[in-house]
């Protein structure tokens, strides 16, 4: 197919998704469940967006405290907010 053809040309993907890692994590957590084919990619996307938002939050926290470096308390505070937001 066209898809296969294009993929074969470029084998090196930047920012690869750790598909095996994600699958393993899911299996560990929920062994009775199964993940569909490309679901782990969406999980990866979800993680990316989560981390992005978390980083933004941590950055604003650090800037609020007029810190040039992100410290773990900033991260902690940001995580609290984010985990609340991403409750789903």
């Amino acid at each position: 197919m066209a898809v296969a053809a294009t993929i074969s040309q470029r084998k090196r993907i930047k920012r690869k998704a750790p598909r095996g890692f994600l699958k393993r994590v899911f299996k560990r957590q929920k062994p009775h469940l199964r993940l569909e084919a490309s679901c782990d990619l969406l999980v990866h996307l979800n993680c990316l967006l989560f981390i992005r938002r978390l980083a933004e939050e941590a950055r604003t926290d650090a800037c609020k405290n007029k810190c040039g470096v992100i410290k773990d308390q900033h991260v902690l505070a940001a995580a609290k907010v984010m985990l609340k937001k991403s409750r789903g």
Partner: protein, 585 residues
Amino acid sequence: MADSDISDNEPTTRTLLRRVLDTEAPRTPRRRQSTRAGVQRTPLGTPFSMRLRSQTKTTAGRQPHRARSIGRLAHTQTRGQLKEQTPRTLLENILLTAPESSMVMPESVVKPVPAPQGVQFSRRESSPGSLELQLPELNAPATLAPGRLTSGRRKKRLRLSEFQQGMDQGLPLSQGPVTEPPGNTGASSLSSSLNLTFATPLLPQSVQRPGLARRPLTRRAVDVGIFLQDLQDTSVATALPGDRTPVATLPTDTVLEDTQPFSQPLIGCSPSVHHSIPSPSLSAERTVSRRTWSSGPGLQNNSPRKPAQLLAGKAEEVDALAMGFPNTSSSTSGEDGLEPLLGGVGEEVEERMEESMSLSEVKEAAGAQASARAEEPEAHTEVAEAEGSWGATEEKEPEGSSGDKDTEARPELASSTPEFPQARQLEFLEPAPPTSTAVGLFRQQIIPAPSLSSEPLEPLSARLPTRVQTAGPRLRQDPYKMGLSHYAKLFSFYAKMPMEKKALEMVEKCLDKYFQRLCDDLDVFAAHAGRKTVRLEDLELLMRRQGLVTDRVSLHVLVEQHLPLEYRQLLIPCAFSGNTVFPAQ
């Protein structure tokens, strides 16, 4: 004219050939005039003509021909038009014009091309000359036409030769007095002269290959010598390791042979090494030790210790693998790496060792030991020895005390750690000091009392309780940590601000919690839909609830923004040719 002709005729092969003939003329070097003359024809440009044009462009040194051929082109063109009597004539015309473009057109070829008259002839001559240049072999008799290698070309050549005969008579081309069989005169002279020039270029290409093939031979020669010398040494060494469980490391055997480890110093250490072997928990040590020797700690005096250390490490790795400890550090972070390492590291090490090894003594010693080990059924010992010898050989020059070795080992370990993933580094650093201490012990007492061996083992096991005890948690932790650190790096990238290490660890903890939450949510969603498989719809629902996907921003938009092309193609259905959609909806 050509257009009218063509329009009149049906699109038969004849017309096509005619077109080619017409268009070919312009493509010959006399392009300029031909283009003028063949402007009408150019639009006809069949693929042949196009190719020919391109080919002619590549040809060089056609100038003298061009001058002459220009006039001929017109002739040919007209001739072509007039000749539409038989396909044969058309073909002949094509043949006449086609061969011009030769892959290799040395300027020397130009010389023989003279006569302004027979443009075709001149072309043929040049082409045969060029063709022959390319194929000096074909030079011989029949093939006048230079150029293509196809047999069809040979036929052309024959025909050309006929023409050439006429040409030669009229043209000074037939350089030289060499007037061989008709048709070959010019070509033969050209080819003969040209062949010489072309002969050389072929050689370098062929010579290149042998160079690569020669490489393995050099290695083999050393092994034999080492083998003979090591026979005696190995017998002593083999006795002690006999009690140890032999680990099958066949690939390492071959590797050992090639290497040139120390023979004598290692013998004494071999027993000690064996004792240290039976600690599967020392897998990390092994990998570390392996690295250490590769980095080059060896000293002749200290070589026994190092090799012992290395041997122990290697043996451990081998043991671990043999015993099927996937959980060992070696397997975890570098399972893929370790296994091929054992099999192929030896080879790699050999290469490295060979390169680095300069002193013959070391080589002999190493080789003796290596060969001796190879003979023994215990591959692990051999491997260890080989490793040790390699390390020794590498470090031959910087001889130092045992202390130096230890110090070297540590920095080496430290240096080697960066090679491994971060998670492993910590673990490796831990065994590093113990290994050095163990090496010290070995040093002092070559006789490997079991107590001695147990001593280094105990501290090691104490430090790495996880490894020794259970493989499960180890596996869980390492790759899990690796995956989390992968995302933590992305965090630091997105933050665009310097971060503390503690902050990164905090990020990893948050990610852990996040993953748990994610799995729970997906479980709930799938159960709600009465499914046991998590599907894309569940994921989309999750993202919608998280506020990432809204009415304004759809999932596909997010996919396109944040995922690379390959993943996008897998996720977003796209229509392809043949009325297919991938991925299937």
